[in-house]
Amino acid sequence: MDILQVLADATRSAIGPVAAVYALAAIGLNMHFGYTGLLNFGQVGFMLVGGYGVAVSVSTFGLPLWAGILVGIACAVALALLLGVPTLRLRADYLAITTIAVAEVARLVYRAEFLRDITGGVYGLQGFAGGFYDLNPFPSGRYGFGWLAFNARDLWMMTVAWGLVLLASVLMWLLVHSPWGRVIKGIREDEDAVRSLGKNVFVYKMQSLVLGGVFGALAGAMLVVNQQTITPDQFMPQVTFYLWAILLLGGAGRTLGPVLGSVVMWFLLTASDSVLRQLTSSGVITFITNSEIGGIRHALVGVALVVLIVFRPQGLIGNRKEMLVNVK
């Protein structure tokens, strides 16, 4: 077995643009769940409106890319208001149910036949990312060394995507280490107590939902720009559950938790995939076919997560002291 090949594949994916996209969306989820205690099971819905904001604006309406990104952000704000206004005054579980349902309904609407002229229906849209690559300042060529080299296009994509992750992390750090962040964390513990001290809990929860949703939308925009195409069926509910796994793996309620979680998650996913592929093609394992590898690596990652939650429930960099405090 070629260990170097496994490490090369896994590392490329851990620092690649997709890991950055997931990190960014998980930062949004960290705002929601890690700091505010909001159960959002529909983060993929924010990614969807962000991605389609770009694709529809550019491909269908011929707007420039930056306008598409603004449209995506505006759609995320609207979606957050739509989700939050009816549910944020109710018990936490109502938001959970609503988010998962609305995200799925959004996917079905965007793929619907009657919107085919705008969203491209089940076939989605292409050819909207040119504006992004036109801005690429790197001359073409290979960057990096040996097995860890990227072409100019990937480098540009990674620079922007990880740049956004950095920006979002700094923003989050500033926010949660402020009196605003203190109120938000108080709401996570007991919103009635915070209300009794004169804070408008509804407004805080709404702000958190909007901000985390905007991060999700930016992640969606980056995702589809990286792919240069968008299809509705890539925004299935399991994307949200990946984001949850990333957040819990890295450590909820920590600024760098979602970033580390995404890097480690993509490393593990790709490494297990690469190992399995080598084992089957070299004939060491005969009872698995190549087409089954995708499912098996997910099962392996699932097992790893269960082990993690048993032995390190606070995640890789979570705060054990906070975790162990008796909750009521």
Partner: protein, 293 residues
């Protein structure tokens, strides 16, 4: 201490008749026809009640009398079915809990609500009013809120000192004992700078040695000019500290008056001991245990 307190108490409520719904000379809180039922059960049905400004008023009554429900209604944590109430001359109907608190009426909870995964100091600082940094955009104006934060921290340390929690200021609130959480909740409520504080069983679970100093804090609050309304079951505490006592039973105010009036009130004794008791002595109804949860 208690003779001093009772002396003050006699002054504060001079000339007020001990009858349910009686008018007070300078009420800070006026309740009219407030009713709340849960299904068929009428939990609160208060015709008229006034709370005198700058006094300590005790709200007593058997378990399930509706004391906590009345607190919830008055502070915007539950909705009334009927009635209205005024605080400091403003009608409070329909205001959310945070608005009521901002107007100066701050409450604590019977089941303590410490923010467990924040430190004791963070619990205190969170409660400070009018912080620039607690608005989302204000959070980025670090230099501005740093100064406020320092002033609030100082105030918080004074309060924590008073409540014997200063040594714990950097610990997670979740690591405090039940009694310490009660103290923290009270100290935290005071950070809001309320003109009226409503305490739901502040002594429950607090060490008897600390109860005495807690009582001193409560009288000190009144002497600073604040109004205190508190729910309590311990009769010694109630009689020793209250300027006025309101008795609630099955949601209704069945009696109110000075401690000496309440001690002698047959309806109160009936409400506490049940109608069929054969103890005809007019003794104060005493509560055996200190903690009720």
């Amino acid at each position: 201490m208690s003779s001093d307190v009772n002396g003050a108490a006699a002054d504060r409520m001079a000339g007020v008749e001990p009858v349910p719904g009686v008018a007070k000379p300078d009420p800070i809180l006026v309740v009219d026809g407030v009713r709340r039922s849960f299904g068929g059960l009428t939990a609160v049905d208060v015709d008229h009640l006034e709370v005198q400004r700058g006094t300590i008023t005790a709200l007593i009554g058997p378990n399930g009398a509706g004391k906590s429900t009345l607190f919830n209604l008055l502070t915007g944590f539950d909705r009334v079915d009927a009635g209205e109430w005024h605080f400091d001359g403003t009608r409070l109907n329909g205001l959310g809990g945070h608005r009521v608190a901002r107007r100066g009426m701050v409450r604590t909870f019977q089941l303590t609500k410490a923010l467990t995964r924040l430190t004791v100091m963070e619990n205190m600082l969170l409660a400070a009013p009018r912080q620039t940094g607690e608005r989302m955009l204000g959070a980025f104006a670090r230099p501005v809120w740093r100064a406020q934060e320092a002033a609030n921290r100082e105030r918080a340390e004074h309060l924590l000192e008073r409540f014997k929690l200063l040594a714990k200021k950097d610990e997670m609130a979740g690591s405090l004992s039940g009694g310490q959480r009660k103290l923290l909740e009270m100290a935290r409520a005071l950070m809001v700078e309320p003109s009226m504080i409503m305490l739901d069983e502040p002594m429950a679970g607090v060490n008897p040695a600390l109860v005495q100093s807690l009582l001193e804090h409560i009288t000190a609050l009144r002497d600073e000019g604040r109004t205190v309304l508190f729910v309590e079951h311990d009769m010694d505490v109630i009689m020793g500290i209250s300027d006025w006592i309101v008795v609630l039973a099955e949601g209704k105010v069945i009696a109110e008056g000075r401690p000496s009036d309440i001690r002698a009130d047959q309806r109160v004794i009936d409400a506490y001991l049940g109608a069929g008791h054969d103890d005809s002595e007019q003794e104060p109804p005493t509560d055996s245990g200190g903690s009720h949860e």
